[in-house]
């Protein structure tokens, strides 16, 4: 479904609008911008926190505890998007106010805080959660109180809730195109699957293994290590013995840093691609901790890299650095988090209402041409159509994009034949 654009802002908003365009040149295609803010009683029939000139949303991430490392970028992206939307005149003539809650890397806390946001603050939307565990913890609450969550992380799939819009990739969108690429372009035949021991790496490797075996190729090893494991010398020896063409690594957190440092120290030079390292868990954010010199030469399959060249992304990177400092890097999830407020804005404007049920109905088919990753569209299953890209790690911590799929890849959270 395509919605036509009506780019005729009212005169009193025009200056703000144009100013917004100049300083923060991200704009949404889908804009049913109205000439005067519609009355609150019309756009809010379910008692959400909407007044005549403001609307309240929630941001729910861990800013303390072990996940703060990863979630900080998402918080920054969501705040930037909200500020940009406000500078352009807000949503339905209303400025967005956010209430930020800290999930503290603790899943029951996430549940408690989401209940507070929905029941007490009556927020119109929540941008948040990062790990699957935190999403699973808040899911029953969002369904019970009929909230809307914009969830940014790439994840294992196997879920589709009417109360969540998944702005990251589900597993098949990240895995299949990546494996196809190394098989076709690097002649890979033998794979060694490696991951941290929890649901996302295990589900992802299951899909990877099925796909590799479908192609008639071989998995020579599959290994999992507890979260926080710091000694990888034994598995590196095992890899050396099995001589795979590809190490498919889904290691996360502090283990990630240990794994790549030790791989490098053990004499596996990733730039020689013997074996080649393909990962779906290392974004530019993680490389800050790993150190570019320790991972140069590895490949990553993502939908977004900071080095992507298009007008949207250049404007986004510039605005992000201006807001949060020049040293900052932007990873895949940060970009997906940035999409959340924009997709919500598009849905609200299409529905002409803040009501959750109307937003849900308006969301499928919504498209965003201003996304830093390019064009995205919401699938009826609440995930995004997006491209898969392969990045080649440079020593300065950025990726060179060496491949992108021609078409948008359809999200398929319940892939048949892969379970």
């Amino acid at each position: 479904m395509k919605i036509s654009n009506t780019p005729h802002p009212p005169s009193k908003l025009r200056r703000r609008f144009i100013k917004g365009l100049i300083t923060l040149p991200a704009t949404v295609l889908l804009s049913t911008m109205v000439f005067a803010a519609p009355p609150t009683a019309e756009v809010n029939t379910t008692g959400l926190a909407v007044t005549d000139d403001t609307v309240k949303v929630g941001i729910l991430h861990s800013i303390t505890g072990t996940m703060a490392i990863s979630e900080t970028g998402s918080v920054q992206a969501e705040k930037l998007a909200i500020e940009q939307i406000n500078a352009m005149g807000g949503i339905l003539g209303r400025q967005i106010e956010y209430t930020q809650e800290d999930g503290a890397s603790d899943w029951p806390t996430f549940a408690e805080k989401s209940k507070k946001l929905l029941v007490k603050d009556k927020v119109a939307a929540v941008f948040g959660c990062w790990t699957s565990a935190s999403r699973k913890a808040v899911l029953p609450i969002f369904e019970q109180y009929n909230g809307m969550l914009y969830y940014p992380t790439f994840y294992e799939g196997l879920e589709q809730s009417p109360n969540v819009i998944y702005t990251g990739q589900e597993a098949t969108q990240q895995i299949i195109a990546g494996i196809d690429w190394v098989v076709k372009n690097k002649g890979a035949k033998k794979f060694f699957l490696l991951g941290s021991d929890y649901i996302w790496p295990r589900t992802s490797n299951k899909i990877a293994r099925k796909h590799i075996e479908k192609l008639g190729l071989k998995v020579v090893g599959e290994e999992y290590y507890p979260l926080g494991h710091t000694q990888f010398n034994s598995v590196i020896n095992k890899i050396k013995l099995k001589k795979p063409d590809v190490i498919y690594a889904i290691v996360v957190g502090g283990s990630n840093v240990a794994f790549y440092k030790q791989l490098k120290a053990a004499g596996i030079d990733m730039t020689k691609e013997k074996p080649l390292v393909l990962t779906i868990s290392v974004t530019e954010d993680e490389i800050l901790g790993i150190g570019g010199e320790n991972i140069v030469g590895a490949y990553a399959a993502m939908k977004y890299f900071q080095s992507l060249t298009n007008d949207n992304n250049e404007a986004f990177v510039k605005a992000f650095k201006k807001r949060w400092g020049d040293d900052i890097v932007i990873g895949d999830v940060t970009q997906a988090a940035y999409l959340g407020p924009w997709l919500w804005k598009a849905a609200v404007e299409k529905a002409g209402s803040f009501d959750i049920d109307k937003i849900r109905k308006a969301s499928p088919g919504l498209e965003l041409t201003t996304a830093p990753e390019g064009y995205v569209r919401i699938h009826p299953n609440h995930h995004l159509w997006s491209k898969t890209r392969i990045g080649h790690a440079r020593s300065d911590g950025q990726y060179d994009i060496v491949f992108e799929t021609d078409e948008l890849i359809e999200p398929d959270p319940f892939p048949k034949g892969y379970q």
Partner: protein, 308 residues
Amino acid sequence: MFSEYSMTELTSIFAMQGFAGLLLFSVFVLMALGLAIIFGQMGVINMAHGEFMILGAYVTYLTSLFFSNYLPSLFGGYFFVAMILAFIATFTLGAFVEWAMIRHLYKRPLDTLLATWGLSLILQQTYRTVFGAREVGVTLPDWLMGSYAITDLIEVPINGIFVMVLTLFITFCVYLLMQKSKLGKQTRAVVQNRAMAGAVGINTEKVDRYTFGIGCGIAGVAGSAFTMIGSTGPTSGQLYIVDTFLVVVFGGASNLLGTVAAAFTISQAQSTMEFFLSGSSAKVLTLLTVVIILMLRPQGLFTLKIRR
């Protein structure tokens, strides 16, 4: 599982595996020595041990930044300066913590557990505020990177050798300190009988402060060394704390030799099993073995026979 490999390949892999085991052993000894002094000699359950290690790692990070910005010509040698600074910083913080908190709790050992756990949370949040929630990358000097190839298959990581040599050196220093020096003799006297030690003129408060400080200082040096093989972030210390306690308790808390023996047993068992099984099951089996041995021998592998 080995039928498809040639003899040379197998020999090389087993040699590499032996080296991996020794490296794990050095890592365990290095991280456990500081705790062995604090927990073993003083009976203080220091839950903030990991955070002292990470303080050392952050000092290393700052030193590397300083050298790369102001003394780039000397960058190759910064690691030694960093380790000394890490020792000084963690020693100072340790002595301060002992003075402010621990000394009030010597008669309530279980309360030290809670107090030091609280301290670990405070330190984590402090690191997060000061250095940011993200992990920082510590750049190594070139000579510490890469590996030394003996044959095609046998490649020895240079930073691994560095960790081993450092562990040997620190263990030797700790041995001299505890067995030969005046402070070591006083420490052992205080551990055995605090009242009597005080009566013969030992300044027990000072001994406590130095001992705790030295334990923390060694943790700092370990943290500094671990920037080569692991991550440096506000909560990275948590990655080490379980293994550290495991080694110290398994070895018999009051004996440094026991710590070394326990580190050797656990590291060899774990690295061998990791090779033949998968990572998670190796960990489960290691923990199970330790639990069973501790059930049979609750005092740990080695104990001092003293009259209490």
